[in-house]
């Protein structure tokens, strides 16, 4: 458990760094961020409201450390501030439903991509020069070379607009029910239909990386003596492939998985945007477009924390798979 404790402490540090970055990035920029931030309140807020707003965001007068303390204090109380573009709605209220959609979509998509990539990688390495190795691998690397958003556009164009097989926006059909209702099977079905294309886009674009990584690890592991010995022992191919080779080869993939989670999430956010999915990606872009800095920062923080939690879960899985980490 020492490993997990250490990782947990590390994630705390990472979260702290993210929080701190969030505080310092605007303050390191040239110009006066406060002025820019409140420019759009021009004539709409009186000075008292502005002052209280500034205080909420930690842009108070005084030494930077004092500002930092105010900012941390607000965060500790769960106060992410008020949205500027949706003033005076608390940022948290805006983010929460989007966060859930993002977690569902990206969570399912990345795990699916990872699992498919792993399994295909296992077979690609096992049958070197076979169909997966010589055919699927180059295709997935070409697909992976496209920007996420471009693939998303392309898929929207073909399957959504030309063939009209799938809806091209929203997470569920609002004509069915304006409010989410998970007890309604039609609603669930609608969610699945709406989620399929964006999910496939994320899966297709990120699959290649996992496939190749797993294949290469697997090739490395297959040349290990314990695999050779397992074969010599007369074990079935299945057992050699999964218990001996894949179980070991997956460990570095798992590490790579957690390391690139942040990257994949970033790309997936843009996919959300193209598919008009009501997730964090759209919220972030909206915040950037509307110069809604509190919203922007909160989105970044929550995405970061979600990634950190996902990483920790990957670590737990790692410990389950690798007795040496226990």
């Amino acid at each position: 458990m020492r490993f997990l404790t250490r990782r947990f402490l590390f994630y705390l540090v990472a979260a702290f760094v993210a929080i701190t970055l969030n505080f310092f990035i605007p303050r390191l920029m040239a110009g006066d961020p406060v002025q820019v931030m409140f420019a759009q309140f021009q004539g709409r807020l009186d000075s008292r409201a502005m002052e209280s707003l500034k205080e909420t965001f930690g842009f108070v007068q005084g030494p930077i450390l004092e500002q930092y303390a105010t900012y941390l204090g607000n965060l500790a109380r769960g106060n992410l501030g008020l949205s500027i573009s949706n003033y005076p709605t608390p940022v948290a209220d805006l983010i929460f439903p989007s966060l859930l959609w993002t977690l569902r979509l990206i969570g399912v998509a990345t795990i699916t991509a990872f699992l498919i990539g792993i399994i295909l990688g296992i077979y690609a390495a096992w049958r070197r020069g076979g169909g997966i190795d010589s055919f699927l691998l180059p295709i997935t690397s070409i697909v992976g070379a496209f920007p996420f958003f471009w693939t998303a556009m392309f898929i929207v164009f073909i399957f959504g607009l030309q063939l009209k097989w799938f809806p091209t926006s929203h997470a569920w059909d609002i004509k069915l029910t304006p409010n989410p209702d998970w007890s309604n099977p039609e609603f669930v079905n609608s969610v699945l239909r709406h989620g399929l294309l964006p999910m496939l886009t994320i899966v297709f674009t990120s699959l290649g990386g996992w496939l190749l990584g797993m294949r290469n690890n697997m090739i490395g592991v297959l040349s290990q003596d314990y695999v050779t010995m397992a074969q010599a022992k007369g074990l079935s191919d299945r057992r050699v492939m999964f218990t001996y080779a894949a179980r070991n080869a997956i460990l570095p993939s798992l590490t790579a998985f957690s390391m690139s989670l942040g990257f994949v999430v970033g790309g997936a956010l843009v996919v959300e945007l193209v598919f008009a999915y009501p997730g964090m990606g759209y919220l972030l872009l909206k915040a950037v477009g509307g110069r809604d800095y509190p919203l922007m920062q909160a989105v970044f923080l929550l995405i970061t924390i979600a990634v950190l939690i996902a990483n920790f879960m990957a670590d737990v899985l790692y410990v389950v798979l690798d007795p040496r980490a226990r």
């Binding site: 003596d225 022992k233 007369g234 057992r239």
Partner: protein
């Protein structure tokens, strides 16, 4: 179509004078980007029941390749391109994958060089022993576990360590665990590829002693491969000396040590210092082993040989010839009896 070799009821009832394993004209090539490397070239030898046969030679001489070829675990780019490997009259090289799967480990097992690499780090040693047992018998899980514990006990590990992972064991214990796996099905032949290289001499001594005891107890034969000549000579019954992919001399180990016939063997035997006996000047062998992509013509040792016969050794490859009782050497000089008085 070959069937799986029937397992004798009493395995040790074989004729001690019949070879258990007979390697005949074995040829192995590595297909590399630079060209084909003939790593094993027309090698023949026999191993008799309950015998320890040692293979010695410098790194890259092909001794490990032979071990892997005999167990048919050579992977590309290595290919067996010729010869026979007869085990009790059946050619292993003709077996299909299914037959091989049934044959291997039940009749012939292998102990790898590094126990750290030979054990799957993510499953327990017990499970790795049980795997071997359950792949070949229909023993229940419980019985297999009991057998695994018994095997651990046999090789000197506390049976309670059955649920330990490899990293929880010391180097010596790991190597013992690998030996336990090799013993799991009580095979007639165990191939040991540098089984103690990674261990220090004291532990090496313990393990070699135990192997010997086990051999006496179970009556299996060993193909023993090491670069440590002292250990080889001490431990083996007979020894084959390899040079650049060829077997240059085969003889009982005492004889190899005291009366080597091939110039290479002779020089090799005079290359390592000992702790007993007189302290004398040793010279080693000048030069280095050849690049096997472009091996020397004729006798492959001739460029390093100070007694090479001009015009002959460069051109004609000597064949293994009998030079004494169970003693064979591949050298043009052997016939002429000019070496070493």
């Amino acid at each position: 179509m070959l069937s799986v070799m029937p397992k004798p009821e009493v395995k040790r009832a074989v004729n001690p004078d019949e070879p258990l394993l007979s390697v005949q004209d074995l040829e192995v090539e590595y297909h590399t980007r630079r060209g084909k490397v003939r790593a094993v070239d027309h090698v023949s030898f026999d191993i008799y029941p309950n015998e320890v046969f040692g293979l010695a030679g410098e790194s890259g001489c092909g001794k490990s390749t032979i071990a892997h070829a005999v167990t048919r675990i050579l992977h590309p780019p290595a290919y067996i391109v010729g010869g026979k490997i007869m085990m009790q009259g059946i050619d292993i090289l003709q077996m299909n994958d299914d037959n091989l799967r049934g044959f291997r480990w039940e009749h012939m097992s292998i102990v790898f060089q590094s126990a750290m690499n030979a054990l799957n780090p993510v499953i327990t040693v017990g499970a790795q022993i049980m795997d071997a047992i359950q792949a070949h018998t229909d023993m229940s899980k419980k019985d297999a576990r009991a057998r695994a514990k018994e095997l651990l006990n046999t090789v000197g590990i506390d049976p309670e360590r059955v649920d330990s992972y490899p990293h929880q064991l010391s180097g010596g214990m790991r190597q013992r665990a690998v030996i336990a796996i090799a013993l799991a099905l009580n095979p007639e032949l165990i191939i040991m590829d540098e089984p103690t290289t990674a261990l220090d001499v004291v532990v090496q001594k313990q393990i070699m002693k135990e192997i010997r005891q086990l051999k006496d107890q179970f009556g299996f034969s060993i193909l023993f491969i090491t670069h440590d000549l002292s250990l080889l000579v001490e431990f083996s019954d007979r020894i084959g000396i390899m040079y650049a992919g060829e077997l240059v001399e085969v003889a009982p180990s005492r004889q190899i040590f005291t009366n080597p016939q091939h110039p290479y063997t002779y020089k090799l035997m005079n290359s390592f210092p000992t702790v007993s006996g007189p302290r004398q000047k040793l010279v080693g062998i000048p030069g280095s082993p050849p690049d096997l992509i472009t091996p020397p013509t004729g006798c492959r040792f001739h460029p390093r040989c100070d007694v090479a016969i001009a015009g002959r050794c460069q051109e004609v490859m000597p064949r293994l010839a009998k030079v004494g009782d169970r003693h064979y050497a591949a050298c043009h000089l052997v016939d002429e009896k000019v070496i070493h008085g």
